[in-house]
């Protein structure tokens, strides 16, 4: 056992990077669910974003364009879900599952020519002298731009939901769509926008894996991250800051357990391997003891005639 092999600064820096795909996807899904829609297609939108972002980044040589393409790709795919659930009033659970299967299929089709290709690297944000500060510099000021975008999005979603009229309307639609409709809000339109926002963020989360975290394209490379993001939204009781906490906790313990294994710590590996799931769930369940409930209309179809 050699704990000195673990560099805590690198560990924290790595956890922030590891948590970002989950964070992006979960933040998007949070907005969707606060609008009263349950989209189980996060995994499908992520993997579609992963290949859209990857292929466009490779073709244009610009990772930034890649991320924009990933957001567009995820949003376009989510439009399919919006069409099924908001226009034709199909079951949301079934449509979401179908979206995941469809996304996995279409991404492997789109990705045929991109196996083994190396994507352009996204440079880290240049903070100048800030990144020279010992300890804090490497932890806070030495990351790719998307990681900061993820953090800003969490803050933005929180602020919008809490302080703005738009956020209030969105929450009203999610809590009671009949009442919101009676007040004259366009329930379906608001929900479609929320679904697209969720799709865009899931797409960016996927592209973060294919462009920054791994970086390569492999079929099925999101390997279940979308499901973790979905679970995280529920355990975080639909609150943005708790999503951030959950994502960092999950990413952090995942990294920590890998490091502990590498250092040969005498904790049985199977406990280490399950620790990210267990600890994240326990912490978030304890936090959600404050009786925060799911949005009232979550998962229910809405039609103006009802």
């Amino acid at each position: 056992m050699d704990l000195s092999a673990i560099n805590p600064i690198l560990l924290i820096a790595a956890l922030m990077s590891a948590a970002t795909p989950i964070l992006l996807a979960a933040t998007g899904e949070l907005v969707v669910e606060r609008a009263g829609v349950l989209n189980l297609g996060v995994e499908g939108m992520m993997i579609t974003g992963a290949i859209c972002g990857f292929s466009i980044a490779v073709e244009t040589g610009s990772p930034t364009t890649g991320f924009i393409a990933a957001a567009v790709g995820g949003a376009v795919l989510s439009l399919l879900f919006a069409l099924l659930t908001q226009v034709t009033l199909a079951n949301q659970v079934a449509s979401g599952l179908a979206l995941t299967l469809f996304g996995l299929g279409i991404s492997s089709l789109l990705g045929q020519g991109y196996v083994g290709v190396k994507p352009p690297r996204m440079p880290d944000v240049n903070f100048g002298p800030l990144s020279e500060i010992p300890v804090i510099g490497p932890i806070l000021f030495s990351h790719d731009p998307l990681l900061y975008v993820g953090l800003l999005l969490v803050a933005g979603v929180w602020a919008v939901l809490r302080f703005t009229r738009a956020g209030l309307v969105l929450r009203a639609v999610g809590e009671n769509h009949d009442a919101a409709h009676a007040l004259g809000y366009k329930v379906v339109r608001i929900r479609i926008l929320a679904i697209m926002f969720g799709g865009a963020l899931a797409g960016m989360g996927g592209a973060y894996i294919s462009l920054i975290r791994v970086p390569q394209w492999t079929e099925g490379m999101t390997a279940g991250v979308g499901w973790i993001a979905l679970a995280l939204v529920v355990f975080a009781s639909w609150k943005p800051w708790r999503v951030l906490l959950g994502a960092y906790l999950f990413g952090g313990i995942t990294q920590l357990q890998l490091n502990l294994q590498g250092a040969g710590v005498a904790i049985p590996v199977e406990y280490l391997a399950m620790s990210p799931y267990v600890i994240t769930i326990v912490v978030l369940v304890m936090l959600s003891a404050d009786k925060s409930a799911a949005p009232g209309s979550l998962g229910r179809s809405f039609h103006a005639s009802s």
């Binding site: 092999a5 673990i6 560099n7 690198l10 790595a14 590891a18 795909p21 299967l101 469809f102 996995l104 299929g105 279409i106 492997s108 089709l109 990705g111 045929q112 196996v115 083994g116 290709v117 190396k118 894996i209 975290r213 791994v214 970086p215 390569q216 492999t218 079929e219 099925g220 490379m221 999101t222 390997a223 279940g224 991250v225 995942t254 990294q255 890998l258 490091n259 294994q261 590498g262 250092a263 040969g264 005498a266 049985p268 590996v269 199977e270 391997a273």
Partner: protein, 359 residues
Amino acid sequence: MKLTTLFAGAAVALGLATVAVADGHEKTKVGFVYVGPIGDGGWTYEHDKGRLMVEKELGDAVETVYVENVAEGPDSERVMTQMALDGADLIFTTSFGYMDPTINIAAKFPDVKFEHATGYKRADNVSTYSARFYEGRAIQGHIAGKMTKSNIVGYIGSFPIPEVIRGINSAYIHASKVNPDVEFKIIWVYTWFDPAKEADAAKTLIEQGADVVLQHTDSTAPQAAAQEAGNVVTFGQASDMAQYAPFPRVSSIIDEWGPYYVARTKAVMDGTWESMDTWDGIGAGMVGIGEISDAVPADVKEEALALKAAIADGSYHAFTGPINKQDGSAWLADGETADDGTLAGMNFYVEGIQGDIPQ
């Protein structure tokens, strides 16, 4: 099922209908159950290459079907049942975790032949087959021991099953033989295929000082992580992974399933199929060693090739004594070689490896 699979299935079904009408003769149907996607660039990719070889060699006489991304455990029983009900004559289940499901389903379909990769449970209609990957690991270990400057070799383990443990032991024995100071850092990721997790494990090992990373997982993600780090040596796993050659990937273990799949399919067609256990290595061509790139010094490359030749012609066994177990107790005496039974159930580290095997 994926869109591409659907299309492929539809195309095959259409072809089948035409032929069946044409000569009234039914094709031999061969099913494959895959643990990952066929585009993983590693394990499943090579099995699918074997499937394509069956199609190519036997042409119209066979029809192949496959299902990707089948979770190990109960879900795989559903897939196998469906294949058997759809008229498969022979089903290859290509991951260790399909072992009990294969035995269960085989009992329900006595007329269907099953072939389970890397397992040890057989029945009248269940054969097992595997490759002696540990022979390739010996060569990797040799190169790793020579190439490491930090004397730390990282190893990404999937599941603590005998196949993986054999690989770790074989690599360690041969690395420490040429470099007594070498230390193995082993991380278990508990998955065969999860590129993000594999990349994280590789990065962790690199951050902890490893400058050679061996992987026993299926994707090329660790290769990408090593490429980013810049000065880390890797080896292709299951497939050549030549897109990362000549550096970081300096060589590889390649699984060559095609000839075996063709032979076994033919055996079903001839009615000569019998339950048996096949375990072939470099000599029989089931394990290939990918080209050793120029990033490896010429003398090391020569030694590695000599080692490969000695293993291939049987003059050298990768587990040749004296070898002690991790606890220091004697396992193999001087010159003694390991028997297949012990190797097949290997559940201990050899002397010198740190840490415990998860139970």
